[in-house]
Structure formats: C-alpha cells, structure tokens
C-alpha cells in the first residue's frame, strides 16, 4: 500500500495565513487564557477574542444565559475591559501563543468608534486580523449595522482606509437577505465574512411569568441554529468571492464538515467550547482524517463542493 501523504490543512483568508482552518468564535473563548489549563492553545488555527469596545462595558443585567433545546441564549452585553486595558492586560498572553490573534471590535454609540479602534489595533504587529462585530444582538439597538446593506457598506468602507490587516465582517442572521448584506461588505473591501452571529431569541419562565434573561431577549447559539447557519453560508458562497468563516452550532467534525461543503474556507467553534473545551482540537484531527479517507490534499477540494442529491 502506498503511504498516504498528510493533507494540507492550511488556508488563506485575505493576507492571513492559517495553519489549519479551525478557529474559536468571539465571546466563547474569553481572551484564551481562561482555557490555558484545558487545551493546547497553540494547535488552534486562530483565536478570535471577546469583542472589545473603546471604553469598558459592564454588560447586561443578569441572568445572562439560559439553556434552550440543543442550544443556549445569552445576553452578555459585550462586557469587556475596553481597548486600553485589553492591550495592557489581555494581549500579552495572546502574543506569547504564536498563533494568529483576531481581535473582535464593536462600537457602542457611533460608527466612528470602529475607526478609532481599527487605527489603534493596526499599529500592533502581533494582531493578525480584525473582526468587525456589527451584529451583536445584545446592545438594545433598534437596528444593527449588519441589518442594513448601506450602513454595512459605509462602515466597512470607513475602516478599510485605515488598515491593511485582514478585515473580517461578522454578519447577523436576523435579516431578510443575507446575500445582500454579504455583497455590501464585499464591495466595501472586507477580506472575509464571518457567518453567522446569534439568532435573536427569548425564553420565558412560565411559573414566574418572567423572561429567563435579565435583558428579556438575547442571542441563540448552539446546535439548534446550525441548519440556519449552513444555509446562510451556502447562500452567501454562491454570490460572493471573498472567503467565508462559517459558524453556528459546530460541535464536532461532522458539523464542521457541513460548513466547509456549504462553502466555508474556515470555521469557528463557539458554544461547543463551553460543553467540551477539546472540541476544536478534535475537529482539527477529525478533518485531517476525513481528508485522508477521501483522498483530499487541500481544503480547496472540500470548500463549496456540494453536489445535488440526484448526482
């Protein structure tokens, strides 16, 4: 028998090189130090930090999480120490890891805050990419930036001028047409799209007749949203040229593969980090095995290779 060559798991997202396409999703992995005792962080393709804002944020009124069928709701409300404290206290640990660090950012009041944040982060060489979180459902806004194609275009265009770093735009699934928003981000110069953020949701305690979350409503994540996410990745893949980072309820190798086949170039593991901190590393191994079993040398043989049922 011919000894099979190990498949090449590396991918390119904009100017960002990943040794493997498995990342951890923003908000589910803190600033990585929280997981240091539990997994070998250096094996991850990349780490996306919890979202940072200009000033620190206290976050929303507790309770902030509740379990739902095959999923969970959260309304954390972007609790974070702010950019200065992040750079001072959280970034040194991330820099030491030697793997790509993607910093997720959001604005509280005006889009100008994104510009200020991007200018700051652009000057730090150890930061590999910036993720624009224009889709957080927990800021009590009437409308998210990513729910409007024009606002998405303007925001991405505004920050694009100030950085050469890989710019990822994270989109909300709470829209009529994901492709319309995806196209707007692409034409404004985004290097990649992260699909999807959480779905708006609500859960009620029937005995108390109160919402289960202090903020009343929150974002749904976990395997419950996976079919929605896979569909949106597939829809966007058919219309855009820039890479897609797929996410939404990835728990294991099989669920990660669904995203690649639907059109993702890389994937992020989110809620699964709470359930089993080993999930992301097991997916890296499982993906490699799948590619060997199917004689695939590169991920380009997998991404978007969806066939019709009758074939």
């Amino acid at each position: 028998m011919v000894k099979q060559k190990k498949p090449n798991l590396s991918v390119k997202i904009g100017n960002l090189d990943l040794k493997n396409p498995i990342m951890v999703a923003s908000g589910t992995f803190g600033y990585a130090e929280e997981f240091e005792d539990l997994i070998d962080l250096r094996k991850l393709g990349a780490i996306v930090t919890k979202t940072i804002t200009l000033k620190g944020r206290q976050g929303n009124l507790p309770p902030r999480t509740c379990e739902t069928p095959a999923g969970m709701l959260n309304s954390i409300g972007l609790e974070n120490p702010g950019i200065d404290k992040f750079i001072r206290e959280k970034l040194p640990f991330l820099k030491k890891l030697g793997i790509p660090v993607i910093v997720s950012i959001a604005a509280e009041e005006t889009p100008d805050e994104f510009v200020i944040l991007v200018k700051r982060l652009d000057q730090i060489p150890e930061i590999s990419a910036i993720e624009l979180n224009i889709s957080c459902p927990n800021l009590q806004k009437d409308k998210l930036i990513s729910q409007d194609a024009k606002a998405t275009f303007e925001l991405v265009s505004a920050v694009r001028k100030f950085t050469e770093k890989c710019l990822i735009t994270k989109l909300s699934p709470n829209v009529t047409s994901i492709t319309q928003i995806a196209l707007a981000a692409q034409s404004a110069g985004a290097d990649a799209l992260a699909l999807i953020n959480t779905l708006g949701g609500m859960s009620i305690d029937v005995n108390k007749r109160t919402p289960k979350l202090g903020a009343w409503v929150g974002g749904l994540s976990g395997p419950a949203i996976r079919p929605v996410a896979v569909k949106m990745v597939w829809e966007a893949y058919n219309k855009i040229k820039i890479p897609i980072i797929g996410m939404g309820g990835i728990m294991d190798t099989e669920s990660a593969l669904e995203f690649f086949i639907a059109g993702a170039t890389a994937v992020s593991v989110g809620t699964a980090n709470f359930v089993d901190p080993q999930a992301s590393l097991e997916i890296i191994a499982g993906l490699q095995q799948y590619m060997m079993d199917n004689n695939m040398q590169n991920l380009s043989s997998l991404t978007g290779r969806l066939k019709a049922c009758k074939d």
């Binding site: 908000g27 589910t28 992995f29 803190g30 929280e34 997981f35 005792d37 539990l38 919890k50 206290q58 976050g59 507790p62 309770p63 902030r64 999480t65 509740c66 379990e67 069928p69 095959a70 999923g71 969970m72 959260n74 954390i76 609790e79 976990g222 395997p223 728990m251 809620t271 980090n273 709470f274 359930v275 089993d276 901190p277 080993q278």
Partner: protein
C-alpha cells in the same frame, strides 16, 4: 492549582431522601487539590440535550474519591441519577474560589457558624470537615424535615446542630436566618459561612453586617462555561460585575451588592 478535564469513573450513585442524589467519583487530582467551596462542572451525558454542563459543589473528598450531592430538579439531574457505577463522567474541576479557612482550620478554639439552606449543605459539609478541630455550630434550614440533609454527617464531625423548618416539622419553626439572629444573641462567632438560596444569603449578609461579623457566602448561578470565559454568571459587587464561576462562588458578604 490548575484545573483539569477528566473522564472520572463513577464509584456510586444513589437516590437520597427522595428527591436528592449522592454521587462519588474517582479523581485523585481533584481530591488532592479541592478546597471547600469549590465546584466541579459535569457533563451528565454525551448528548446535545441537555447541552451545558451542570456545576456541582464538592461535598467532600476521601483519599482519591470525590463526593457530590444534587437535587433532582430537571432533565440534567434526572439523567445524572441514571448514570451507573463503573461508567465514566466528563468532569472539569476543581473550579472557582472556595472558602478562605486555612487559619481557622488549625484552631481548636475558634467559634464559627455554618448556615445552610436546603442544598446549601453540599459545600458546608466539606467545610465542616476542614474546621472540625473547633467543632463549628451548624444551622440548617429547609421547608420540611424531609428536606434536611446530611444530619448524620455533621454529627459525625462533632458539629453542634440546630435546625429550622418552615412548617416546624423539626427544630425551630421559621427561617434559618431568624434562628441565626437568636443564636447570635448568645454567641459572638469569629465568622459566618453560608450557602443557600439567594434571598437567604441576602439576609445572612444583613445580619453579618449588623453584628459586625465577617461572612463568606457561596453563591449559586446558572453557568455556561464555568471557567470565567463567557461572563454569563455575573454578580454585582462593589468593584463591578464578577463571575460567580471564577471569582466566586464564595464571596465576602461585604463585597456584594444586593
């Protein structure tokens, strides 16, 4: 001490007093490093329902065995009750900051009062064992006699026990915090240690403040990650929100804002 994710063998798992369960698992690592007041985060089954782990106070350790007790309240604990000796459980621990007692543990003279409400006995047994030289006074409150747990275990440690039930079926008729007020008329302890429902802990904090006695309170919250990453189990303190899972579950009563 670092935390670990382990596959722990179940040694025993039995129903206790009707609606409670008592489970022992094997983990030399957790047994060796656990501090009273810390918890473990258990994946009750390798399934998507329930999705999240269940945080459980460490009830005690013996050699390489770790004990927990749990109230059978919902799907997660119902599944946990079906798990059999010899099977393996996916456990992360030991987690959080426990009670602060190293100095008290060496004393034979210290007077400390432990106040448990319902399932709040779980971490307080472990603490009573650490403080056994000074034979702490233990107050346990529950709705009825049937919900009073671990009496024999506290007695075996030489603790003095006082009970309170809402219906008066055993001990003082009324709230355990009313019983605490009566007890404090006669004794001035060095410290209060408490675990139980949120309203009870709030009253213990008030009583501690009025009597100028330091109190350490173990809080309970729904958790997603259990390791301080998701910021889902936050509690408001004088220095802002803190994570019950990582900064707690034990907090000084003066630190908390109710």
């Amino acid at each position: 001490m670092s935390i670990a994710q382990i596959k722990a063998k179940i040694i025993s798992n039995q129903r206790l007093n009707g609606n409670y369960g008592h489970l022992e698992f094997e983990s030399g690592l957790i047994a060796k490093h656990a501090v009273a007041g810390q918890f473990v985060n258990i994946r009750v089954a390798d399934a998507l329902e329930p999705l999240l782990r269940r945080p459980m106070s460490i009830h005690g350790v013996k050699a390489s065995k770790v004990k927990i007790i749990y109230e059978i309240l919902g799907k997660g604990t119902q599944i946990l009750l079906t798990r059999k000796p010899g099977e393996f459980l996916d456990i992360i621990g030991p987690l959080g900051n426990g009670f602060n007692y190293p100095r008290l543990a060496k004393s034979t003279q210290a007077t400390n009062i432990l106040i448990a409400g319902g399932m709040g006995v779980a971490p307080l047994i472990f603490l009573a064992e650490k403080l056994k030289l000074s034979k702490p006074l233990v107050l346990i409150g529950a709705r009825t006699k049937k919900q009073i747990l671990c009496l024999q275990e506290f007695k075996a440690l030489g603790c003095t026990l006082k009970l309170a039930t809402d219906d008066g079926s055993v001990g003082f008729k009324g709230r355990v915090t009313d019983l605490l007020r009566i007890v404090l008329e006669q004794t001035k302890p060095l410290g209060l240690f408490s675990c139980g429902p949120h309203p009870m802990l709030k009253t213990v904090a008030q009583i501690a403040h009025e009597n100028k006695i330091p109190a350490q309170l173990s809080l309970e919250e729904h958790m997603a990650c259990g390791i301080g990453a998701c910021l889902g189990c936050e509690v408001l303190t004088k220095t802002g929100y803190k994570s019950v899972c990582k900064d707690g579950p034990v907090f000084s009563s003066e630190e908390l804002i109710w």
